[in-house]
Symmetry: C2
Subunit: 184 residues, 2 copies
DNA sequence: ACCTGAACACCGTTCAAGT
DNA sequence: ACCTGAACACCGTTCAAGT
């Protein structure tokens, strides 16, 4: 009967797993505690609040975004950010809803800025691109869920199909602007 | 002691008011019921669920967006959509989180498409713009709240300042693309 | 038609106390 | 240092019953 011990890292891992299984609305501290075979109050030794835990989860989600590199084309970096958000169920909402206090989000913005050429004058554009990707990914995951529970009109097509075209249209617009300003 | 009666419309109005007062995290069916001097269960005669009520609120938030008009410049329409989302506390999150099942969201997309010229080939771009505005507004409201409770670094400036520049950078990118395709 | 009352199965969080 | 046990103040939702 050796009692299991957890550190922040392992709790974050298990939270991500549970998130993928049940989705954000059903991700409760009590349910996570049950999953870890621990009392709910035990979690509060490691994290100050649910918010702080979700913030750490958000940082982890964005950790797979590659390091900034000004030779990576914008479309590639943007796709990497999007895919990081889509890798876990409700990932975009987790990042979006804990964003304000996040430091880890800078990682994504830095990568996008590097892909734009790294000029400080493009910082606003990089932020705008990140905001577009976040909105896009959250809406897509919303629709995927609505589609999976059949809460949507029967004529509704698979949401991922059109999403790709919208994503491309969005990123291309930013590419164009960046290309105009820095003609190669 | 005449008992007050409510219809969906008046409940939606009061919900919007309560949302503005307490924010989405504290907007509960029980609290709303107390506000209306009614039992919580009474709300379920008018609305199937909290989700459905919030969906109706989301539709109402977007109702102030002007009717589609292809003579309205994109920046003007985009600003109208953004301002509708910012008009109530956590408005962007309410719209974003109930979007999938919404019909009312088409209103905003239609207005944006009209401002792009109304060509069907620009539908993806119009959707992308809407996604950008949603992401932008939600992030901004997040930051505004974090700023107001002082949950953010002391060196952090007022979030609305930079937001305007980011918003402009985003919409301009889409303007440019539309301009390239339909030269006047 | 519209609402009350009571219940069911949950929440996040705190805090003394244990080991 | 790390966790338990018990409590506090809440949730969304259902449903019989009232008017």
């Amino acid at each position: 009967m050796t009692s299991v011990r957890y550190d922040r890292q392992s709790i974050i891992d298990r939270t991500l797993g549970l998130l993928d299984d049940v989705g954000l609305p059903d991700l409760s501290m009590r349910r996570l505690a049950t999953e870890l075979d621990v009392q709910p109050s035990a979690l509060y030794w490691h994290f100050e609040s649910k918010q702080e835990l979700l913030g750490a989860v958000a940082d982890r989600i964005l950790l797979t975004v590659p390091d900034p590199d000004d030779r990576t084309p914008l479309m590639r970096t943007a796709t990497a950010v999007r895919d990081a958000l889509l890798a876990y169920r409700d990932g975009a909402e987790v990042v979006l809803s804990t964003y304000a206090l996040r430091l880890g989000a800078r990682r994504a913005q830095d990568a996008l800025l590097a892909s734009l050429g790294g000029e400080p004058e493009d910082a606003d554009a990089a932020d705008a691109i990140f905001e577009f990707i976040l909105g896009h990914a959250m809406l897509l995951q919303q629709r995927m869920h609505a589609h999976s529970i059949g809460a949507v009109a029967a004529d509704a097509a698979d949401p991922t199909a059109q999403a790709e075209a919208i994503f491309t249209a969005g990123i291309r617009a930013f590419e164009a602007v960046s290309g105009l300003r820095h003609p190669s």
